[in-house]
Symmetry: C3
Subunit: 135 residues, 3 copies
């Protein structure tokens, strides 16, 4: 069984943002030589997350920021001294990873899907681990 854990870093520029990871993931998969199996894309941070969203019209991301901020606001009742409890909440809800299917040497994604790192307490330097499992 082939299996490879990769690591790359990205720099986020704003408090909350989406970074498209597709190019990094394709490069890791190509290097791994895995043709069939799964890829786990893992985020080791507690104020960031991995998600899949539309990659075509940027308005979807603008609306997603608005929706996330209004649904999970930074409440005045929050007591955590770092003041980023809203980011921990979003991170837990969106989730630390995505698991993708690898088929014939490609990541199986829908036509409009891309994989994103979502920053909830930037700007920061962030690490992402894609791991390829298969043959």
């Amino acid at each position: 069984m082939g299996r490879n854990v990769y690591q790359f870093t990205i720099s986020t520029k704003e408090k909350q943002s989406f970074t498209n990871l597709d190019t990094y993931l394709k490069r890791a998969l190509s290097d791994s030589g895995v043709n069939d199996g799964i890829m786990v894309v893992y985020c080791p941070h507690t104020t960031g997350a991995i998600t899949i969203n539309e990659n075509a019209d940027p308005d979807v991301k603008i609306d997603s920021h608005l929706g996330l901020n209004e649904t999970f606001p930074n409440k005045t009742e929050y007591i955590y001294m770092e003041g980023n409890s809203d980011g921990h909440m979003k991170s837990s809800v969106i989730g630390a990873s995505e698991t993708l299917i690898i088929e014939d040497g490609s990541i199986l994604l829908g036509t409009w899907q891309s994989v994103y790192f979502t920053e909830f307490d930037g700007p920061r330097t962030r690490t992402i681990y894609p791991a390829c499992n298969g043959q």
Copy 2:
């Protein structure tokens, strides 16, 4: 290592709905011959998602629709021209996949659990990919 990606389509009938996928997943697992490993159930759409919820009392699904719609409403401030930003939001929060454990040729689910496709912008024809990895 045995590994098989399957594909099936479902037709959703309403704007928002839950479709039980258990029968499709059992059939894919049986055909794959995988006895021990994992199954990734993947949704390639950005206004749908895969989730696990109670399969007994249908009132749980009625309440879930109400809760999702009130927590993630289609806001008037949303700018995306297709008008389904609430669906993208729900899709990102519920998630594009579920990863299940395969043990002794069966999917390990709790007594009350079933796997559902959740439609957030129907009615539409949707594709689901279950992938079995193991031996």
Copy 3:
């Protein structure tokens, strides 16, 4: 390919709580002998979930409880007779599992990350299944 499904039970003490699972997961991984691969941590209950959150300052968990309860309240319009539809909602949003990367015989977690069972309808006795896949 090594693969092992483990099972352990925990007792939750309150209506809503976080239980740190790291010790259980490390023990399962050590027993499995898997060095490289993935671990799926699965919750077979529909009013509980698995999540990854900060393990250092307990205030993060206090804020998370407040945030979850205000964002997904137990609405008076809910009709399900068991009265725990808010728990089903949170379970679906947080998710029934986490998929972790195993590298060099260890679970790849960020410095501040731990894996938690989140109880949404306690106190109860709960079962958790960690499954190690790899070599």
